[in-house]
């Protein structure tokens, strides 16, 4: 599985979305499933999946799927097909 697929899976699981739900354009709190409680599950899922420890500022700034790709990049995780 590519890291991009891994990331999509992590989003779907943490946000309790169907297996085929499109997630690449998701924005924090635009989707009703992505509320502040789900945000903490999502962060934990990303940390587990990619073996990183995300700092507080990045938790706050991780406000979209695309932003997640950028932030994970800072921690040395290359998200690609």
């Amino acid at each position: 599985m590519s890291t991009l697929q891994q990331l999509r899976e992590a989003f779907r699981t943490a946000l309790d979305l169907p297996a085929d739900a499109p997630v690449d354009d998701l924005q924090y709190q635009d989707n009703e499933k992505w509320d502040s409680l789900a945000h903490m599950s999502l962060i934990a899922a990303l940390e587990d999946e990619f073996g990183v420890m995300i700092d507080t500022d990045d938790v706050i700034n991780l406000s979209s799927f695309q932003e997640a790709i950028k932030i994970l990049g800072k921690y040395g995780v290359d998200i690609s097909e």
Binding site: Q29, S36, M53, D55, T56, D57, I60
Partner: protein, 344 residues
């Protein structure tokens, strides 16, 4: 990085400019606010203390917002003891900004890394994820700053000693975060730690929620601190904040006994009869000031809490340091907002 950097004179210069602009912004965008200002005869402030304040309870009776309906992103509510509810309207920008500023404030004492976090509360509180209590919202807001969250109380609100022991076994030998409401920390953590010999010496405690219940048990803030030190917990930070100024918290400094104002906020103590600003050492009503409320006119608020400024530029961090001493008796507080209701 700290948000506790500005000496008082410098801070007031910055705040006066920003808050005067905010006052104009709200005057232009909130009709009820414009009417209140007109009735009060306010034109211009030459000092922070001259900025026009609103009694905090006005948010319970008036819809005060400075954004169009279709930009309302979140409505926060706080229920007071009487069941009246404040309604605070945030747009996207204000919602994001309040999280960032709270983050920056708390990182002053926690650092940039998220620490393992022991929550002195019960997860059951978050069961209905559409409508949290103010307590639930506080816990949730703070959990951003932690990782590997463990709840110290089970779903029935009973101390879960196994969970606490498990947390300490795993995380107790490096810095960890403890968060909870003051009274719960006393009853469900301090007493449990003391009776079971738990080692909390690597903990950093952040707590809030008023002293009334503790003072009823004859536990003063000093005593609270001293007794926690007895179970090794010496990094202790009380904070004061309210939903009407969401994102702004006044944080207790490392040596204890005083709350400090972040660079974007300040407090003024007023005589409850003449409204005159009181000098350090004199007790009066607390006015809280913050540049964060951009979507509603909550930038200068007169609270119903009594407080005292202990000193200026003479503590752990620059600026004013103060304490909150409890609530003003209700009848008197009602008097002051009635004046405003007439004006509105």
């Amino acid at each position: 990085m700290s948000v506790f950097t500005l000496p008082q004179a410098e801070k007031e210069e910055v705040l006066l400019t920003e808050l005067s602009a905010l006052t104009e912004h709200h005057r232009r965008n909130s009709e009820p606010y414009a009417r209140i200002l007109a009735a009060s005869g306010f034109e211009k402030a030459d000092s922070v203390a001259e900025l026009p304040w609103l009694p905090v309870r006005l948010f319970k009776s008036l819809e005060l917002k400075s954004i169009p309906d279709d930009e309302v992103f979140k409505v926060l509510t706080s229920s007071g003891t009487t069941g009246e509810v404040s309604r605070i309207y945030l747009d996207k920008h204000a919602a994001a900004e309040q999280t960032r500023r709270l983050g920056a404030t708390v990182q002053t004492v926690l650092g940039p890394k998220r620490l393992p976090m022991l929550l002195v509360d019960t997860k059951a509180m978050l069961k209905d994820r559409k409508s949290f209590s103010a307590r639930g919202a506080g816990v949730l807001g703070m959990s951003t700053f932690g990782r590997d969250h463990v709840w110290a109380l089970d779903n029935d609100g009973v101390v879960d000693l196994d969970a606490i022991r498990g947390f300490l076994d795993k995380h107790g030998d490096a810095p960890f975060l403890i968060f909870g409401f003051t009274f719960l920390v006393w009853l469900h953590l301090y007493e449990v730690a003391r009776d079971n010999g738990l080692d909390l010496s690597n903990g950093i405690l952040i707590h809030s929620g008023g002293w009334k219940k503790l003072i009823d048990q004859a536990v003063s803030p000093d005593e609270f601190r001293a007794r926690l030190a007895g179970v090794g917990l010496t990094n202790v930070h009380n904070y004061y904040g309210m939903v009407e100024q969401i994102g702004t918290v006044f944080l207790e400094g490392p040596s204890g006994g005083s709350l400090y104002c972040p660079d974007f906020a300040d407090v003024i103590v007023r005589d409850p009869i003449t409204w005159r600003e009181l000098p350090p050492g004199e007790t009066g009503l607390l006015e809280v000031i913050s540049t964060l409320p951009t979507s509603y006119p909550g930038h200068v608020l007169l609270t119903e809490d009594l407080g005292v400024v202990h000193g200026v530029d003479d503590g752990d961090w620059p600026g004013k340091r103060f304490s909150v001493l409890g609530r003003l008796p209700r009848a008197e507080a009602r008097g002051c907002s009635d004046t405003y209701r007439e004006a509105a």
